[in-house]
Subunit: 137 residues, 2 copies
C-alpha cells in the first residue's frame, strides 16, 4: 500500500491491493511451482479511508494511527497465455479502470504500460511473489 | 494497517489484517443483514516488509513508498454464539498468538481483553463493518 501522501501526491497505486487467483491454478502452482497457462489474477483496488488527518495520509481509528481500507477504486486483471500475450512476455495485462465503476470490457495493455515493470521487478514470472507469502517459495 | 512507527513503536495491531468469513455465514448475512449464530471470522496478521527505511516505518519498492505485506504474525478468531459467549456480548474471541507459530489451541478471552473495544467501536454486532465494504450496508 503506497499512499499518495508518501508519493508526492501521485502514487501509481494509492490503494490496498486485494489480489485473488482462481483455485485451480493455485492448486497447480502449489504442486509445480509454475503458474500454469490460463492463470488469472484479479487485483481489486481499495482506497484508504478519508478524510486524511496527517501529512502522511494516515488517520486514527480505534486500533491506532494508520491506513484503513475504504472505497473500491477499480481493478486490474492478468492472464497467462504464452502464445496470445507473447508480446508482453506471456502475460496479458488488463486495466478495468483505476476508479469506479469498473469497465465492462477492456483491451490488453502494451508491454510498455504494464509488463515492463513486472518483468523488471517481480520475483517470479512477472508475479510479485515477494509480496505474497503463499506464492513465495 | 497501523504501523508501529506511527504508534509510538507499539501498535496493538502493527500488521495487515486479512479477514475471512466462511461462505455459508456470508451468504446468510447477504440475505438477512445479520451475522448468523455460528459465524466464524478468521483474522490473519501479516507484518510489513523489513527493513524499514523511513521514520514512519515505510520503505520503497517498485510501486512507490509505502507498506508491503511481509511475514505472517499469528491470527485471531471470533465465533458468534449468543449463549456460549454471552459474557462477551455474543461473540467469542480467540487469540492464536500475535507471533509465529500460531497456537494449536487457545481459550476464549475475557470481555475486557477483546470484546470491550469491539462493543465500543465496531459498527455492527461487534464487527468492524465500517472497514469491510462488502459487509457495510
Amino acid at each position: 500500500m503506497t499512499p499518495n501522501a508518501l508519493n508526492d501526491g501521485h502514487a501509481n497505486f494509492p490503494e490496498y491491493h486485494n489480489v485473488y487467483i482462481e483455485p485451480g491454478s493455485y492448486e497447480i502452482y502449489e504442486k509445480t511451482n509454475v503458474f500454469p497457462e490460463g492463470t488469472i489474477m484479479f487485483k481489486e483496488l481499495q482506497l484508504t479511508t478519508k478524510p486524511e488527518e496527517n501529512p502522511d495520509g494516515s488517520r486514527t481509528e480505534a486500533s491506532g494511527r494508520g491506513y484503513f481500507p475504504g472505497a473500491f477504486n477499480g481493478a486490474d486483471v492478468t492472464v497467462k497465455d504464452s502464445k496470445r500475450f507473447a508480446a508482453s512476455g506471456g502475460w496479458g495485462f488488463f486495466d478495468f479502470n483505476h476508479f469506479e465503476p469498473k469497465a465492462p470490457t477492456v483491451s490488453v495493455k502494451s508491454k510498455e504500460e504494464c509488463a515492463f515493470c513486472h518483468i523488471a521487478g517481480a520475483k517470479k514470472d512477472q508475479v510479485w511473489t515477494q509480496f505474497y507469502r503463499l506464492l513465495d517459495k
